[in-house]
Amino acid sequence: MRENEPAATNGTRDLLPLPPAAMYILVALAEAPSHGYRIMSEVEELSGGVMRLGPGTLYGSIKRMVGQRLIEELEERPDPALDDERRRYYQLTPLGAEVAVAELDRLTALTRTAAKRLPGRPQLGLT
């Protein structure tokens, strides 16, 4: 294994690197199941307004990620009393969580290497 290469299983490694939109969606779903609009808002907030997913990009990513079993649709809404019944909720699967961690490791390793090699960059203090 090369220096700083994250330890990921073969199945997980097949999916790396994740497209940025997919990683943001996984992170958005890390804490609780969510629906399309909330995922979009969360992604926008997480990215500091840089990434605003349009309907096609968001649901295209969701479709792909459901197919890859990174996320799954909930059969029951978390709190039907509070929300619109037309909304579909999605949650992270165990594979999705594993892939998100592996991608985070990969990005961390890249960031660490980049901080060392690029002149004039501050030390990030990553452990």
């Binding site: 999916l15 399309g36 349009g54 309907p55 649901y59 295209g60 079993r69």
Partner: protein, 197 residues
């Protein structure tokens, strides 16, 4: 929803119609709802929302069509080989025909095996399906037209340009037909649904 949001609903419905069918069928209403949510909950102005919806649709459609084209190109390559083989066989060059046909069948086998290695629930992203029906229809039509022309001509000798056009149409028809069959093979080996574990 207020009546002021009707244009947004109308526009997003129209844009959803342009999306790839698989996405549209599964998430069409959700995509419209998302556009409306951006208008109502985020309070996004129409002049800002509409261009972003248009560019999002353009990106998604372009990406999907490119994926489909790349998928068609592989099938087309095999289709050309099989068509040339058939053409060679028809013209009496059996050895060449067998060689080319073997290559075509080998490539089809590789595509099929790749499809089999991505069973339902595969973690690899599925390619966008390409419809094989138009290829087969156009191919069959061209082949039938060419053969009908030969039958009608009977023993009469055709002029060189007509003969070249006829053979070109036959070759094109065989290519389209073979490409359609390869696409159908790929499609049948592709997972249709993902079953939860």
């Amino acid at each position: 929803m207020t009546s002021g949001h009707r244009p947004t609903r109308f526009l997003s419905r129209g844009l959803v119609w342009l999306m790839p069918r698989a996405l549209r069928d599964e998430y069409g209403p959700d995509m419209v709802q998302l556009a409306l949510d951006r208008r109502t909950h985020s309070g996004e102005a129409a002049w800002r929302l509409w261009p972003s919806l248009l560019s999002d649709t353009a990106v998604v459609v372009a990406r999907t069509r490119t994926e489909q084209l790349m998928n068609s190109m592989r099938a087309l390559a095999v289709g050309v080989l099989l068509a040339v083989a058939t053409f060679a066989a028809l013209s009496g060059d059996l050895l060449v025909a067998l060689g080319i046909a073997s290559l075509g069948i080998l490539l089809t086998g590789v595509f099929y095996a790749r499809g089999r290695r991505s069973p339902a629930g595969s973690r690899r992203p599925a390619r966008e399906p390409v419809s094989w029906v138009p290829w087969v229809l156009v191919g069959a039509l061209l082949c039938l037209a060419s053969l009908a022309t030969v039958a009608i001509a009977g023993d009469r000798e055709l002029a060189a340009p007509a003969w070249i056009a006829l053979m070109a149409a036959l070759l094109l028809g065989l290519t389209a037909l073979a490409t359609g069959l390869v696409l159908a093979t790929q499609r049948s080996s592709r997972p249709v649904a993902v079953q939860p574990e």
